[in-house]
Each structure stands twice: as structure tokens, then as C-alpha cells.
């Protein structure tokens, strides 16, 4: 099939702005070439079936896309050599070492601990004068504390750790020297922590990974460090901002929020609908074609960068009827927010449990929860990887 493959300019919508109209930009082509704001020329793939096909097809390689010499935004340097930047079977070898800690069964066993952290954080929120910033008081500490406990990272180090994480994943435009410095410091921090854990093992994931390295030689020292960093970074910024952005969406739809207040049994389903509708970041990481691949009727040549537009999958009317309607009672479980295939989010079940317990706590214990400032005054951190709110000032109780 012959197509017009001259690239169209594509700028992902800024945080808080309406999503770009992909159909209008592409001329309703499901697979098209685009020039991104950073100058990269990529192919964009849209629609549920095309996205699913692409991200489960090993001919689209992550390892090639993050290799040195490729055009890479800042966060991609962090992905190289990690489970986010390798292909099966190398990726599978590493991921299997931690996969058992993140299964549905194991994460469900953590639910009471997650619920108790939620309660402690809300106790502290209730002790403060209103308005309270939920970013600092709830949405960031909840997933941070959970992943720190799983890994065995001292919670006292969290603040330093957030500063590095902000530099590494926070800004697409940032000077790469700054990112490399933060990465080196983060790896140095974990190197030291691994040494102290090696001397004094505990019942945590980091100790289990150290045993896998030292007893069975199943990963290298560098892979061990990178894995710890990946799990810690991936484990908090995403969930924290999903809580923030979900609350904003619920505040915008008071009828839907009222349904959850009236019937907390709706919360697990509502979390799936929130995962479907919230736009957490701008673009997924790119993959590179290992050979010519035909998708959506278009043949993409070997050696091209390709990005799946999961937001278009989540709004595909052939899968989700009336897709722009936010409806906490719909069955949205087949959304593509956690991806699919070898890179399906390893923390998906943990994120689900954290989100469910977070909303159960916030909605149940803070009746009348609402924004304390107009939504237009909320500020996002600069950068385009994850839509990261600086503060979320809220009030509750009688107006």
C-alpha cells in the first residue's frame, strides 16, 4: 500500500490541556509519520488493535531504540540496560527475578499494609489546618513508602531520592549532562545501599536480588543496581500523579464522585475507568523496527522509531462505547494504560491496589473533598514524561 509518508508536526498536549486530536492531525491515518518537538521523526500507531499488535510484536525492539547513538530523550538513558530497555529473552531473564513479588497474589497480600499507610497519612492530613497539599501529604508518600518497604530502602532517604528522580524523568528538554550526573549519583547511592544490605540481609526484594546475584549468578552487579533504581523510580512518580490526576477528574465530575461516596464497592471498577481516562504522560517510549513490519495496512521500514499511542487505544469506540464519557460504572478493565506484552507494567497490580486503597481512604474519610484553588492555578513540573503536579491544595468538610 502506498501512503503519503511525509511527517506531520506533532506536539503532545501539555498537562491539563485537552488531548491532541490524532484523527485531525493524521488525516485519519491509523499509522503515520510525525516530527516531535525534540526533532525526532517517528511513526505513530493509533487504535486499540494496532497498538495491541505493535506492543506485543517482538519485531518492535526497545533495545535498539535506546541503544547509544539513537535520538533519545533524557529518560531513555535511564532505560538502557534495564527491564524497560531490553528485549526478550534478556529482558525476561531479569524480569523473572522480580516478577513473583508483583503478582496479583503477592500484591493482594500487601493490601492491608497499603491500607494502613493510607490511614496513617490521612490521620496526619486531618491534623493539619486546611488547605492541605495532598502531593506532599498523601499522593507522593503513599507509593514511595510502599515501594521503599518492598525493596528495603530507608524511608529517610526519600527526599534525596525524589530530587534525583525529578531530574532523570522530569524534563525532556533538560541538559543531558545534568541527567547523567543525577543518574551517577543515584547509582552510587544504590551501590552503597546494596553493599550494606549484602552485609545485613533482610526480608525484602533487594536482599532477594542480591542473593540471586551472589548465590546463583543470575544477574550482574550493574544489572542489580539498575533493577533497584528502576523499581524505585517507576514505583512512585507514576502512581503519585495518577492519584492527583484522578482526583482532578473526579472533582470535574461531581456526579461520578458522588456515586463512589454512595457505594465504595464501585471503587475497583472506577480505578480501571480512571486508568483508562487519565492522561498521565505525553508519549510512551519508542521502539525500533528490526525489519520491515506491516501494521494497520502500512509498511514501516526496518530501523525506524515507532511509538504506540495508548491513549487512542483507550478511547477507541470499537472497544469502549461513547469513549469520551467518564463513567465509573463501565467495564474499562481492558484499557491499555499498563501496556501489553513483554513490557506490561510490572507494577500494574501494585498500582491498582494502591489506587483502590487511596480512593477508599480519601473518599471515605474526607467527605466533601475538593480543590482549594481554581484548577487553572495548579502548576505542573516542567517536562513531558509524566504530568507531575507541584501541589494539590484541597479542603474537605462543610463548605
Amino acid at each position: 500500500m502506498t501512503v503519503d509518508s511525509s511527517p506531520v508536526k506533532f506536539t503532545p498536549a501539555l498537562p491539563g490541556q485537552p488531548a491532541a486530536d490524532i484523527g485531525a492531525i493524521s488525516g485519519d491515518r491509523p499509522v503515520f509519520r510525525a516530527e516531535l518537538p525534540d526533532g525526532r521523526i517517528v511513526w505513530l500507531v493509533s487504535g486499540y488493535e494496532n497498538v495491541r499488535q505493535m506492543i506485543t510484536d517482538r519485531r518492535f525492539s526497545r533495545a535498539l531504540a535506546v541503544a547509544p547513538g539513537q535520538a533519545r530523550p533524557g529518560a531513555e538513558m535511564f532505560a538502557a540496560g534495564s527491564i524497560n530497555g531490553l528485549d526478550p529473552p534478556e529482558q525476561t531473564r531479569l524480569r523473572k527475578l522480580v516478577a513473583s513479588a508483583f503478582t496479583v497474589r503477592r500484591v493482594e497480600a500487601l493490601r492491608p499494609r497499603v491500607a494502613s499507610i493510607v490511614n496513617e497519612l490521612i490521620d496526619a492530613v486531618l491534623d493539619r489546618p486546611q488547605p492541605v497539599d495532598l502531593v506532599a501529604g498523601f499522593s507522593l508518600p503513599l507509593p514511595s513508602q510502599v515501594i521503599c518497604e518492598m525493596l528495603g530502602v530507608p524511608a529517610a532517604d526519600l527526599e534525596q531520592f525524589h530530587a534525583w528522580s525529578d531530574v532523570i524523568i522530569g524534563d525532556w528538554q533538560r541538559d543531558s549532562d545534568e541527567i547523567m550526573t543525577a543518574l551517577a549519583e543515584l547509582y552510587g547511592y544504590f551501590g552503597a545501599l546494596i553493599e550494606s544490605k549484602r552485609a545485613q540481609p533482610a526480608d525484602d526484594l533487594m536482599s532477594a536480588l542480591i542473593a540471586a546475584r551472589d548465590d546463583a549468578d543470575r544477574l550482574s552487579e550493574e544489572e542489580l543496581t539498575v533493577m533497584c533504581c528502576t523499581l524505585l523510580v517507576g514505583g512512585h512518580e507514576t502512581t503519585a500523579n495518577h492519584i492527583n490526576l484522578s482526583l482532578l477528574l473526579l472533582f470535574d465530575h461531581p456526579d461520578e464522585l458522588a456515586k463512589l461516596r454512595g457505594d465504595p464497592e464501585l471503587i475497583p471498577g472506577a480505578v480501571e475507568e480512571l486508568l483508562r481516562c487519565v492522561r498521565l504522560g505525553s508519549l510512551l517510549p519508542a521502539r525500533m523496527t528490526k525489519e520491515d513490519v506491516t501494521i494497520g495496512g502500512v509498511t514501516i521500514p526496518a530501523g525506524e522509531q515507532v511509538i504506540a499511542l495508548t491513549s487512542t487505544a483507550n478511547k477507541d469506540p470499537s472497544v469502549f462505547s461513547d469513549p469520551d464519557r467518564f463513567d465509573v460504572t463501565r467495564d474499562a478493565a481492558n484499557h491499555m494504560t499498563f501496556g501489553a506484552g513483554a513490557h506490561h507494567c510490572i507494577g500494574a497490580q501494585l498500582a491498582r491496589v494502591e489506587l483502590q486503597e487511596a480512593f477508599r481512604g480519601l473518599i471515605g474519610r474526607l467527605p466533601g473533598l475538593r480543590l482549594a484553588v481554581p484548577a487553572s492555578e495548579l502548576e505542573f513540573k516542567p517536562g513531558m514524561v509524566i504530568h507531575s503536579l507541584r501541589e494539590l491544595p484541597v479542603r474537605w468538610g462543610e463548605p
Binding site: P88, P89, K96, V104, R105, A333, A342, A348, Q349
Partner: protein, 74 residues
């Protein structure tokens, strides 16, 4: 010659499609996006072992076709 038997519990499957990507040609999603084996009886295959070990919902069962004993997933 050992044979393996694959089964997938569709009530447990969460449609991650990890198996589809890790063991190409061995698993396929149905209309509800739930996984199932392309062929249930297979020769031992390391990619299928990897897929079973990687399933986030532990929905894939892999047993020795003769003895019914679970295959070691490590």
C-alpha cells in the same frame, strides 16, 4: 520424549499479553482479550517456560503431559 501441556485460566488472566510477546506463536488472545494456548500439547520450549514464569496473574499452568506434574518454572 517429554511433552508439556499448557492451560490458561481465563478467569485469572488479566490480559497483560506478556505470554504472547515472550513466546511468539504459542499463545493467542480471544475476543475478550483473554489468553489461551495455540496448541495445548507441545514439546518442551524455554520461551513457554519463560511465559509461564512471567505471567503477572499466574494464570498459565504448565505440566508434564504424561505425569501431570508441574514443570519447574525457574
Amino acid at each position: 520424549m517429554t511433552r508439556w501441556k499448557i492451560s490458561v485460566d481465563k478467569h485469572v488472566c488479566i490480559s497483560s499479553a506478556m505470554c504472547v510477546a515472550i513466546a511468539p506463536g504459542r499463545f493467542v488472545l480471544d475476543g475478550q482479550q483473554r489468553s489461551g494456548p495455540v496448541e495445548a500439547d507441545i514439546d518442551p520450549d524455554e520461551e513457554v517456560r519463560d511465559a509461564a514464569a512471567s505471567c503477572p496473574s499466574e494464570a498459565i499452568s504448565l505440566v508434564d503431559a504424561d505425569t501431570g506434574q508441574p514443570v519447574d518454572l525457574d
